[in-house]
Point group: C2
Chain length 428, copies 2
């Protein structure tokens, strides 16, 4: 086996929603209130919806730039790579990166649909969510069979409406729904409340995985406004450990042992520490906290119910004795600034080449195929799914970094370290 | 080598300040305004200082209780083990646990002296801090030569006064000062400001280690008020990762390469992940963030300057190829609820027995001895410092759990899981 034999399925990527998508999918009575793109006085593209202006691309869609031109926020479509919002160009970019298939999280609605939760007109918001899902499943994913695992957003302010929407999208092929890692952080009931039980029951019944992305509820904290942005970026993935512990000690997986939760962009190298710590706390404190995992240890419940994933994580992939390697997946994170496009195969191979072929296949694609019930081989033929085969189809794709695309770029302003405060102020 | 041959030096324990300590050490003109203990209407002991009432033991001094009687806050001296505040009893308890030596963090002033920073009368507060240090060094530590590594608190609202106090305590044997993991969280300038440079320079000149305890600045977050307290306890140590990244990307260790920082109670198993992540972010983002580690990688700087420690961390101690084992120490955490007194040797041995004698000696005592310039062997003779030798002196010590000591104990109130909210409300 060599790098070209890898088959890469990513459980965490992102799509930038293209203009016009809502008008095409909303019922006629809502069309005039559809989210629509406008250009602001500063030349930025923004979504106008429900009386608010929501900046697009708030999430560093910088793929394809030279690193010195990365920044936190390109502001218009002219400043971002076409593969971020055009599905044909996306397939080209996936081929160039040897990536077979992808789960794409939303951008304008935020990772879990958060920005639609507090809309004034709930009927409209619910219709927008369904329109979003129809666009995502019927246009984006359907444009390239075998290349996308459909993900849906839900009207989470109403659990029964969420169940209804889950059933509707499940019937048309959806495999996972996105849910905040901590719903309390976005104004919703906590995961410790029975409130969500109908949703978990439906997810189990329809075999839908819950995907919780870092930053979708709890936020990584920066220690000060003067802190280098690097320090904040470093801690963002691992910051999901707080939510992971919260889900782990919740009643959910005891009540719904078949429910699966994917911690998107969380990394894996810190997981064995968390699980040993959870077992220590359970053994040492349960007599007064009344925690009860029945016949399991906390680590065993985690390993049964939690999917994890990595971009580059050599330490995690040297710690295979301490992880459930049946529940570790790979992610690309296209088009965010942590993705290593178009070098994903080289980076993955460097992290996994010491493993057995069996383990490599599990973490690169088999685990994702099983847990998300997704069989691209049946559609495309396995021999056409490898890094080598996909890259052979991408000879025409321009992968050299494109300079001068514009947008926010602190590095052009000074040679001093970019601070967290500089980024915070830009978004506030 | 067997368990009885271990020599245990703990870099993180706690002292409960005894009544009368300030009056004995304050100059005459401040004595009538010394912090003093009073008993509230509810029978709780509390410190009265600067017009405020500060509950004692806010930090679960539950050592010696049966686990089902753990809780977050015993409220009076009658409810806590004598070894928490009486140094002779402490030595007995250390002997019973096979612990040779200990660094004791403050309780009433909080881990870094935080509660004294906003006092109205700064002259008084400064005198109280010096009195605290004199009590700690001249009474507590001096009572048992070779058994305590002296730690001091500083008047951190005034960097020059802090430098002066550091020099004063260094001259009488202090080896480490306690500093918030994130000073901004307690109202002080960030570590990215030149403000602190005189303090770092003095620490280097006098070979004083900076000890930053979890929870001394940044707080671990609980996801919701309904979250089981267990989830919060699980994440507390690793929550220092945010501060660790902040220190790592600060200018401090580039400017002061000989300064050492100890991350007290942070654990070790997640460190290799953090360092790989820091290297990834540095390689991948430095072109736009202007981060600059010169000829080092972030991981190399961390391994040169950061001390880490563990209570029970088998995963970390199986990851020795990914850690600098010259900078890993052990901690006991007496008398907090995570300590495993009086079974520390059994727990440590189970974590280290697969290592070479050289590595075992490093993490259990040699690293702490070198970094804190502390040589108990010269005082006591090495043969008297082992777990076996110390426990032989503790035949008379009562180590069986003592029930019915009282205080806050949620478990007695219901069989339901104890929530984070229950604890938050108790402290607010």
């Amino acid at each position: 086996m060599n790098m070209h034999d890898l088959i890469l399925i990513s459980v965490d990527d992102h799509v930038i929603e293209p203009p016009g998508m809502f008008e095409r999918h909303l019922p006629a009575r809502f069309k005039d209130r559809a989210p629509r793109l406008i250009t602001t006085e500063t030349g930025a593209d923004a979504w106008s919806f429900d009386g608010k202006l929501i900046p697009n691309f708030g999430l560093n869609a910088v793929v394809g730039r030279p690193p010195e031109e990365y920044g936190m926020e390109p502001t218009s479509y002219s400043q971002i790579r076409k593969g971020t919002y055009d599905v044909k160009a996306r397939i080209d970019d996936m081929n160039a990166d040897g990536v077979l298939a992808s789960i794409c999280f939303p951008t304008f609605p935020h990772f879990a649909g958060n920005r639609l939760f507090d809309a004034n007109d709930k009927q409209l918001a619910r219709a927008v969510i369904s329109a979003y899902n129809d666009w995502h499943i019927d246009e984006w994913c359907a444009a390239a069979p075998g290349r996308f695992i459909p993900l849906a957003i839900l009207p989470l302010w109403d659990v029964q409406a969420s169940v209804d929407e889950l059933k509707r999208v499940a019937a048309k092929g959806c495999r996972t729904i996105t849910f905040p890692d901590n719903p309390v952080a976005v104004g919703l009931p906590s995961i410790h409340m029975g409130y969500w039980d109908p949703l978990w029951a439906a997810a189990v019944e329809y075999q839908i995985v819950i995907s919780s992305h870092i930053g979708s509820g709890n936020q990584a904290t920066h220690s000060s406004m003067e802190s280098p942005i690097d320090a904040w970026i470093v801690t963002m993935p691992m910051a999901i450990s707080g939510a992971a512990a919260d889900w782990l000690f919740s009643p959910i997986f005891k009540k719904f042992p078949d429910l699966k939760l994917s911690l998107a962009e969380g990394g894996i190298g810190w997981i064995p520490y968390l699980l040993e710590r959870a077992n220590f706390v359970y053994r040492h404190h349960k007599a007064w906290t009344n925690a009860d995992f029945g016949e399991l240890l906390p680590s065993e419940l985690f390993q049964r119910n939690f999917l994890t994933c990595f971009i580059e994580d050599k330490f995690g992939l040297h710690s295979t004795d301490f992880l459930n390697m049946d529940m570790v997946c790979w992610e690309c994170d296209y088009p965010h600034s942590d993705c290593v496009w178009p070098h994903s195969p080289e980076i993955v191979w460097d992290s996994v080449k010491h493993l057995s072929r069996e383990l490599i296949d599990k973490v690169t694609h088999l685990n994702a195929m099983r847990e998300f019930r997704f069989d691209p081989f049946a559609v495309l033929g396995r021999e056409n799914c490898t890094v080598g085969a996909l890259r052979a189809q991408a000879q025409h794709v321009q992968v050299e970094p494109v300079a001068g695309m514009g947008g926010f770029n602190p590095a052009t302003r000074s040679g001093e370290p970019v601070t967290s405060g500089e980024v915070v102020r830009m978004f506030s």
